[in-house]
């Protein structure tokens, strides 16, 4: 049973959803924002610390929600490490395409950490779970306190 959901609930997602590596509040941070998925009640908060050159030095998050949103947040932290805000936004755009369609023309190598979520496009109502932490991250980078994935 459930063999067909292994595309989404693969080993990486199950592990990251269960035991996220980066789920922690940063003690010292420069920006933070919350993300809300009003349709299901998922909620995430993201904290970011910049390096001197304004690239992302560290990211932490707290999430209440499903495996998908937690795994997405955890993988995101690794994907954006060392990136500028601009790069991060470009990555989000590319990830959104990936999450909605399963592929993206301009999927840079940088997006590789997010690949385990590629199958989410077959689960339309779960796409927002995967993009929720990104919405929060972008809101933080933009100096906004909150965002919604809806």
């Amino acid at each position: 049973m459930f063999e067909d959901v292994r595309d989404l609930y693969n080993a990486t997602i199950l592990e990251r959803g269960r035991r996220p590596r980066h789920m922690r509040r940063l003690e010292a941070f420069d920006v933070t924002a919350k993300g809300d998925n009003p349709m299901c009640g998922d909620r995430v908060q993201v904290w970011v610390k910049f390096a001197d050159d304004r690239s992302i030095a560290a990211t932490g998050f707290d999430a209440r929600g499903c495996e998908i949103s937690k795994a997405a947040a955890d993988l995101m932290v690794e994907a954006v490490a060392g990136k500028t805000a601009e790069d991060t936004k470009a990555m989000f755009a590319a990830f959104r395409t990936l999450a909605q369609t399963g592929a993206c023309d301009d999927c840079a190598e940088a997006l590789a950490p997010m690949q385990p979520l590629a199958a989410v496009h077959e689960y339309p109502s779960r796409v927002k779970c995967a993009t929720l932490p990104w919405h929060a991250l972008i809101a933080a980078l933009d100096g906004q306190g909150a965002s919604t994935s809806e």
Partner: protein
Amino acid sequence: MSQFDVTSIRAQFPILGQKVRGKDLVFLDSAASAQKPRAAIDAMVGAMETQYANIHRGLHWMSERTTEAYEAARDAAARLLNAGDRHEIVFVRNSTEGINLVAHSYGRSVLKPGQAVVISAMEHHSNIVPWQMLRDAHGTELRVAPITDAGELDMAAYEALFADGKVGLVAITHMSNVLGSYTPAERIVKIAHAHGAKVLLDGSQAVVHRKVDVRALDADFYVFTGHKLYGPTGIGVLYGKAALLEAMPPWMGGGDMISSVTYEKSTWARVPHKFEAGTPAILEGIGLEAAIRWVEAIGYDAIAAHEAELTEHALARMSAVDGLTIIGRAQDRGGVVSFTLDRAHAHDIATLLDRAGIAVRAGHHCAEPLMRRLGLESTARASFGIYTTAEEIDVLADTLTKVREFFK
């Protein structure tokens, strides 16, 4: 009727094969509500029979499919009106609710007491009463732009209404449901904008008959109602420019329109969901989507050409009926023809026509102030749709001659 094959169009409307009182139905009441093509019926039935669940909040297959089908209606409405963004489309029950939404939300938040709302002398009650209620509750003023005896908006008088700088909003019909007149929407908007006022256009009739482009018109709000556009009842559309909708407070509260709820304070979902509280008219959205696609497939060029030919024919044939007066002689007009007969009251005309299988409307057409302006109590009204034929108009004209004889 060169533009398209009206016979094949009619074949798509099951109801047009019906008999009424033993006679072939001659349905000339489409301006009140249009009949439904097979495409719209089938879309609704298909949903109920094979693919239905509540939407937006569901994680299962039926809910996902139904959500897609319903949200496709938003895309269709955005395409139909050439809106810049699908989020500018708010679903409401009908035109009336769309206008009330603007009067409540925009009217009571952005408009200030002392500011004025301009309507015209040929509005439907649905575009009068909400502004009256706003006036009485909120202290705005209600101004009426006059019409000429031909039944056209008096543009000089319209422009003069802005002189004191008090006008905050114009709410005017894009096409009269009584006189058939189109209003010069683009100029209406230009003049209003030049004076800092926003414009709501009531497209209940217009959108049925010609291509509407809200961006070309630069309309701030535009409303229409599904059941006149060959779609189901229970659904209508309010288009609003994104920036305006975003600044407006919600009107109804409830499920689906929130971002988060605590007893102390709730926050709102983004536009358009902020304005769509509770389970929406899901099946009706699906039906409307099919109706819009069906209209688009025929194309407004063909529709407008067909209806222009019909209207010309109707004006010629009906004017030739002894004692008949056509009410409304606008240059730019569509397929709605009001008339009176010297010897018979509109209701009696309608009842006699009905016995011949001909459906027309009679009364004040929800436009009492316009009736008063015209010095009338009521008119009879024949109105045409995609499926109307010249032969039906001939039957109408011939029967009207006999109605007059009956009341000799």
